[in-house]
């Protein structure tokens, strides 16, 4: 972090978001999904896995994951997955529905704690965890990337409201929007 900046917020460039549903107890399904996407599906509730760059798989439910793919990777991924997965599985490209921002800095955790009823204390919410929860009267998926860096995924229709919320919540921590040097 540059000197004097407690919180920085910037939009992450994600190539594609895919919503994937299938049987978590079926290793065949998980292997096929991992071989096509390059990201292993987390089975442990409320956790996420990161692969190279921005590619990541977030646990959404016992049979549901959100895949965030790198720029340029996700364009035909939906059809490639559909070709190899069991027809009872579901793959939906939800790229247009989501925005991801990265909130970082030593006070980033405090901004999260102000915004949600969930316990974002580092003792409860360590690196590798992700939760879907109420976030500033909207809902969001929050993932702990590092001890003081978090990825927040929310619906594009809430983006204006939530970015203004984050700006206001972070103002007291000497915030930066990531554009200024």
């Amino acid at each position: 972090m540059s000197d004097g900046v407690g919180v920085a917020c910037r939009e992450s460039r994600v190539g594609a978001f895919l919503n994937l549903r299938g049987d978590a107890a079926d290793p065949g399904f998980r292997n096929v999904a991992a071989s096509v996407t390059g990201v292993e599906l987390p089975v442990e509730p409320c956790t996420w896995r990161r692969h190279a760059g921005h590619a990541a798989a977030y646990w959404l439910g016992p049979d549901e994951w959100l895949l965030a793919m790198q720029n340029g990777v996700g364009v035909d991924l939906e059809s490639r997955l559909r070709d190899v997965l069991d027809p009872r599985c579901s793959v939906v490209d939800v790229s247009g529905a989501h925005v991801q921002v990265e909130l970082s800095g030593e006070d980033a955790g405090k901004v999260l704690q102000k915004s949600s009823p969930y316990d974002f204390d580092p003792r409860n919410f360590g690196v590798g965890r992700c939760v879907q929860t109420v976030f500033a009267k909207a809902t969001a998926l929050v993932a702990a990337r590092e001890a003081d860096a978090f990825d927040i995924v929310f619906r594009r229709s809430y983006a204006d409201y939530l970015l203004r919320w984050l700006e206001d919540a972070a103002a007291e921590y000497n915030a930066s929007d990531g554009r200024s040097p």
Partner: protein, 98 residues
């Protein structure tokens, strides 16, 4: 504010994240065409309103969006148990047992 443990997220979360979804364990008549109007009407509309432990459904709206069952005391709002769909622990107190 209640703290409700979601059996899928395996974590106690704030009531804000959940929505109530009515009484649990209501069996659909096996053969709707053969059931009388009274039976069908009871299935659709009539609900118990017990004083004491009550089995009900909640949905984790802001979280994993899954339905699950809650055994909640309607007198003091204490949550006695939460369990996944398709389960029904036998060692819990009976409904309305006060």
């Amino acid at each position: 504010m209640l703290r409700i443990r979601c059996p899928y997220c395996q974590e106690a979360r704030s009531e804000e994240e959940f929505s109530h979804a009515g009484e649990a364990h209501i069996p659909r008549p096996a053969n709707p065409d053969a059931s009388s109007d009274a039976q069908w009407g009871e299935y659709l509309h009539l609900r118990r309103n017990p004083r004491g432990p009550h089995r009900e459904m909640w949905v984790h709206t802001a979280g994993c969006r899954r339905y699950f069952n809650v055994l909640r005391d309607t007198v003091n709002y204490e949550i006695l148990a939460t369990y996944a769909m398709g389960e029904r622990p036998a060692d819990e107190p009976e409904e309305g047992a006060l």
